[in-house]
Amino acid sequence: MQPFTTLTAVAAPLPEANIDTDKIIPSRFLKTIKRSGLGANLFDPLRYQDGVERPDFVLNREPYRHAGILIAHENFGCGSSREHAPWALLDFGIRCVIAPSFADIFHSNCFKNGILPIRLPREICDQLMQDATQGANSRLTIDLQRQVVVRPDGQEIGFEVDALRRHRLLEGLDDIGQTLQHGDAIDGYERERSASQSWMPAIAVS
């Protein structure tokens, strides 16, 4: 996983609530067996009409074609658990999403793919969207080390992030390797359980 330290990038405003995972990446694009390549179909229903780009959609306009940050309204990422949603964002080049609230599974999937989801109050999201409409000069900086969003005028807005997740993002660490360091505890748990709940059946299909 690519570490996330600081990011300075164009922010694209998407002033809509309840952007669901079917909008982020419709199910017909989930037939891949790889993680890459989904960026072309990110926000497909909003971005294209009959295979042609809709000129009014934000990611089809300059400078937002090169956006690295997305700002949206409440409940971003609701719907399915598909990790294809963060993969599509990442493949497009988005490494940070700012919104007043996120759906749970999407929120946790972001961290596992090196994307930083930032929760900020609605008024602040609206201000940042305002900044983002200023064109090419409207780049935001996200400093994860210091936990601040830096506005184009230099003003800093603090944000909260879970300490462990922050640490893993900063270091680019993968969860599995970390958990396997607790292998003895898992072994012990399994031994204790198989003694106390010996009725627990095993699955085998012949």
Partner: protein, 472 residues
């Protein structure tokens, strides 16, 4: 986490605490997982990850795989036509063989939608932690198990470690008291709940459903309710295990047998929430206030009584919401004030993990019996598993459907998400027993109205959204 071991605990607290392997500094738990259900869409990249890092599946005997999302629901003996679907299914079959994971192949009667198969086979049991790379894993909570959807990185994490890194959820209680009126089903109860709390209402919470209306539901109804917990934003749904649960579990292929079953039941009886347990949020509904419901918009919270009308965007509280409502109406091809019973449909889909069980087939067949699908309507019935299909055929339900002009298909997700050839074309309007009415969910440009199986069958025979109470 709420409380010490001695304080009154909720069902969620009990399952959670008994599965914590270790608590990390920041409160994250390494949570042990009892059952891992794997399907073809969210697993290829997880197995790829294992292979790349030289890791094994830690507990194949706690894992089961089945293909469901992509599978064709027409003749199973023919090769799968869509190359990408075929590739995903072949990839799953290669992976389960390589990693030694138990698998129900396509031609097995035990194949079906993963959330139908787990309970049906006795793989999902009370008190367990159950995960799957699919948000509707919440279905299994009906057994009194903590069951939730995970992403593909987490699928890989569970395959490799049999654990997950999780923070405890908050507890929410949804209590539904009273008796349901005739024609009102579990689906209507759940749509009413989502309509009340909204699609973000349960965010960060596990919802426990309680009250006399829930207790009196059979397991199929409880599964319908828990299934759509995710549409209410919750991480999971739960119903406390009781005699109905134990009777359902007993004798299922993978359930404990004989003395082991008795021991298990003894343990399961300790699981229901203690009296006085703390909930962070409580919502109460009266069963008698719930009528048959349909959705009118593109979010599952957009519900209205079948006797009602399409809402007017002008009545929305603010400009953003007004614009959003108008956009939904444009997408759905509806106008404010239109009566729901005047909305004509051209497609009817009965199936999915929400309503693809034998009880759902029976409810739909009851309405379809002796009637004909309206001219110009395509109505399909897709059983949730091969076992459901066999049972329905043994009861003659397939005949009732076929005689009425419904298509009777093989088991799979089908038109719930349109990853296989069963999908809507732009502008088509579907009365669907599935769980999501998002834009394009059932096919690009398709319009979805969520409703119960009986209501779907009623729409099929009249060609419009219909109050089922007029037909039975």
């Amino acid at each position: 986490m709420s409380g010490q071991a001695t304080a009154p605990r909720t069902l969620f607290d009990k399952i959670w605490q008994s599965h914590v392997v270790e608590r990390l500094e920041d409160g994250t738990a390494i949570l042990y997982i009892d059952r891992h259900l794997v399907h073809e869409v969210t697993s290829p990249q997880a197995f790829e990850g294992l292979r790349m890092s030289g890791r094994q599946v830690r507990r194949p005997d706690a894992t089961i795989a089945v293909a469901d999302h992509n599978v064709p629901t027409s003749d199973r003996n023919k090769p799968i036509e869509e190359p990408e679907s075929r590739l995903q299914i072949e990839t799953l079959e290669r992976n389960v063989a390589e990693f030694g994971v138990p698998y129900f192949p396509l031609l097995s009667a035990r194949q079906g939608i993963v959330h139908i198969v787990g309970p049906e086979q006795g793989i999902s049991l009370p008190g367990m932690t159950i995960v799957c790379g699919d948000s509707h894993t919440s279905t299994h909570g009906a057994l009194g198990a903590l069951a939730f959807g995970i992403g593909t990185s987490e699928v890989e994490h569970v395959l490799a470690t049999q654990t997950l890194l999780q923070k405890p959820a908050r507890n929410m209680l949804v209590r539904v008291e009273g008796a349901l009126a005739p024609g009102v089903t579990a689906k209507d109860v759940m749509l009413a709940i989502i309509g009340t709390i909204g699609t973000a209402g349960g965010t960060g919470h596990v919802i426990e459903y309680a009250g006399s209306a829930i207790r009196s539901l059979d397991m199929a109804g409880r599964m319908t309710i828990c299934n759509m917990s995710i549409e209410a934003g919750a991480r999971a749904g739960l119903v406390a295990p009781d005699e109905t649960t134990f009777a359902y579990v007993e004798g299922r292929p993978f359930a404990p047998k004989g003395e082991a079953f008795a021991q298990a039941v003894e343990y399961w009886r300790t699981l229901p929430s203690d009296s006085g347990a703390h909930y962070d949020r409580v919502v109460e509904l009266r069963a008698g206030d719930i009528s048959p419901l349909v959705t009118w918009g593109t979010s599952p919270e957009d519900v209205v009584a079948i006797t009602g009308v399409v809402p007017d965007p002008a009545s929305a509280p603010d400009e953003a919401r007004r614009a959003q409502l108008q956009r939904m109406l444009d997408y759905m091809g509806l106008s404010a004030g239109q009566r729901m019973t005047d909305v004509a449909v051209d497609t009817v889909f009965i199936g999915s993990c929400t309503n693809g069980r034998i009880e759902d087939m029976r409810a739909a067949a009851h309405v379809a019996s002796g009637r004909r699908v309206a001219p110009g309507v395509r109505a399909m019935v897709v059983p949730g598993s091969g076992i459901v299909k066999q049972q329905a055929e043994a009861e003659g339900l397939d005949r009732i459907f076929r005689d009425a002009g419904f298509e009777w298909r093989e088991a799979g997700c089908s038109m719930c998400l349109g990853m296989n050839p069963d999908k809507l074309t732009p502008g088509q309007r579907c009365a669907s027993t599935s769980n999501r009415n998002f834009e394009g969910r059932q096919g690009p440009g398709g319009r979805t109205h969520l409703l119960s199986p009986a209501m779907a069958a009623a729409a099929a025979v009249t060609g419009r959204l219909t109050d089922v109470r007029e037909l039975v």
